[in-house]
């Protein structure tokens, strides 16, 4: 009995394979590895930022199977086999910014930039499910899960509204990697 319990409580390492920004990625990790640290340390994708590590600041927001989640409140082992999009998966291959990223630049929706990847990923998830977004109060509420200590949020609000308009014009899914010119969408 004792030996069985020991084997059940021994923190074995696990092989975790996920699709990140369209590519299969794999690493062996301890169960306690947070998805945020898995992305940053094991996969060297440091675009996803780590702020509070208890779900308040939103800097670590990524898309899991197309929906925004907190990567700091998720264990890497728990998402084996799933599909992940990080901020690195948005700009076009030639470096052209994604409409949401471009809107943040146009509206000065960032200053230090620490919170920006989280805001951008939250916005992408939100706009995918609410392509008609234009109401200030609704956008504020939807983005309220992310904290910015620099901008005062006005620029961020303007950026999300601009991105919504641009995406409506092109019909692009904000969760997909940007394709300049908008060709072959969907």
């Amino acid at each position: 009995m004792t030996s069985e319990l020991t084997s059940l409580t021994a923190p074995q390492r696990h092989q975790v394979t996920v699709t990140v920004n369209g590519l299969p990625r794999s690493a062996e990790v301890a169960p306690r590895r947070l998805l945020s640290d898995f992305l940053r340390h094991d996969l060297r994708l440091t675009g996803t930022h780590v702020g509070c590590e208890h779900g308040v600041c939103g800097a670590c927001t990524i898309l899991l199977d197309g929906k925004p989640i907190r990567s700091c409140l998720t264990f890497a082992v728990a998402v084996d086999g799933r599909d992940i999009t990080t901020v690195e998966g948005l700009a076009a291959e030639d470096g052209t910014l994604h409409p949401v990223q471009q809107a943040f630049q146009d509206h000065h929706g960032l200053q230090c930039g620490f919170c920006t990847p989280g805001f951008v990923m939250s916005a992408c998830g939100y706009l995918a499910e609410h392509p008609d977004a234009q109401d200030d109060d609704e956008i504020r509420e939807e983005m309220a899960g992310n904290l910015c200590r620099c901008t005062g949020y006005a620029g961020i609000l303007g950026a999300v509204k601009q991105a919504a308009e641009v995406l409506r014009e092109t019909g692009a899914d904000p969760r997909d990697r940007h394709r300049p010119g908008g060709a072959t969408l969907g």
């Binding site: 409580t9 021994a10 169960p31 306690r32 409140l73 264990f75």
Partner: protein
């Protein structure tokens, strides 16, 4: 911060999960969405030796609605339940409360059953369960038992789930047209834990007068606090409500603690204001009143 080391198990079916939980006993902790447990582990407030991840148990991924009740499986996320049209129709308080639960990004992963089992005194869903007299189904290798909603939360962050048990589903009664509900709360930032909040259930009689009223307060006690308000409101016409006695009676029952966010007296005052709004909204939400309007 980072969690302390633990063993991870991801069983593929409920029986395997129950066998693991039975063997692990006190060492085992169920992981569903993790939106309450993982922050506690990150802050080392919790350090379970082993986690049993139930998110691969597809048998628990269900919302079933019939004439009597809405039953929610253990892996259903807040957002899925919040946007479930049949569940919202049968038991509108679910949608009314879930609109206040956390931020959208948290709702995408957190589970409704998990929130109830976590039993945070400021969480909305444990109050909904207590207010509506729902029930929780608990399974273990020893069998299945059902706990009444009013008995499920036994203290702050403490529910009636015993070592080896898994909360497989929670049921909420379907409400009739003469019953109205509402949920109000105030937080510094919508989606954060409430300074105070209240869910209200009002039953009207055939003359559209108040027949019964209950309220469940959150954030003002060590668990959801259910207050009977029928004596203070019964007989009042739906279009001529005076909530003064009810607010006074409720405030007499509340003695909340203060903290960095709000003093105890402010929370008590706020709870009364929210109760007034929720009672009026609940009466207005009864279908019989809407049809009469």
């Amino acid at each position: 911060m980072k969690p302390s080391p633990f063993a991870y198990h991801a069983p593929e079916d409920v029986d395997a999960a129950l066998a693991l939980l039975a063997e692990l006993g006190d060492d085992g902790k169920v992981l569903a969405g993790g939106q309450s447990l993982v922050p506690m582990m990150n802050m080392r407030l919790a350090a379970p030796p082993a986690l049993v991840d139930i998110t691969r148990l597809t048998d628990l991924d269900h919302v079933t609605v019939d004439d009597d009740q809405v039953t929610v499986g253990a892996t259903v996320t807040h957002e899925r339940l919040r946007t479930h049209p049949d569940a919202s129709r049968a038991c509108p308080l679910l949608r009314q409360a879930l609109d206040w639960v956390a931020h959208p990004v948290i709702r995408n992963r957190g589970t409704s059953v998990g929130s109830i089992v976590h039993a945070d005194p400021a969480a909305e869903l444990p109050a909904v369960l207590a207010l509506l007299d729902g029930s929780v189904e608990l399974r273990s290798t020893q069998g299945t038992r059902t706990v009444a909603g009013g008995d499920f939360v036994v203290g702050p962050l403490e529910s009636d789930v015993q070592p080896g048990e898994l909360a497989t589903s929670v049921s909420f009664p379907a409400l009739t047209a003469s019953t109205g509900t509402a949920f109000h709360e105030l937080a510094r930032r919508h989606g954060d834990y409430a300074l105070a909040g209240v869910g209200v259930r009002v039953d009207l009689d055939d003359d559209r007068r108040v027949a019964a009223v209950r309220a469940a307060f959150i954030g003002v006690a060590d668990r959801p606090l259910v207050v009977e308000l029928t004596d203070a409101l019964s007989g009042q016409a739906h279009d001529a409500l005076d909530t003064g006695d009810a607010v006074g009676h409720a405030r007499d029952q509340l003695d909340p603690n203060g903290d960095i966010h709000a003093s105890g007296s402010y929370r008590r005052h706020l709870a009364g204001i929210l109760l007034d709004r929720a009672v009026c909204d609940a009466v207005a939400a009864t279908t019989s009143t809407q049809e009469a309007a």
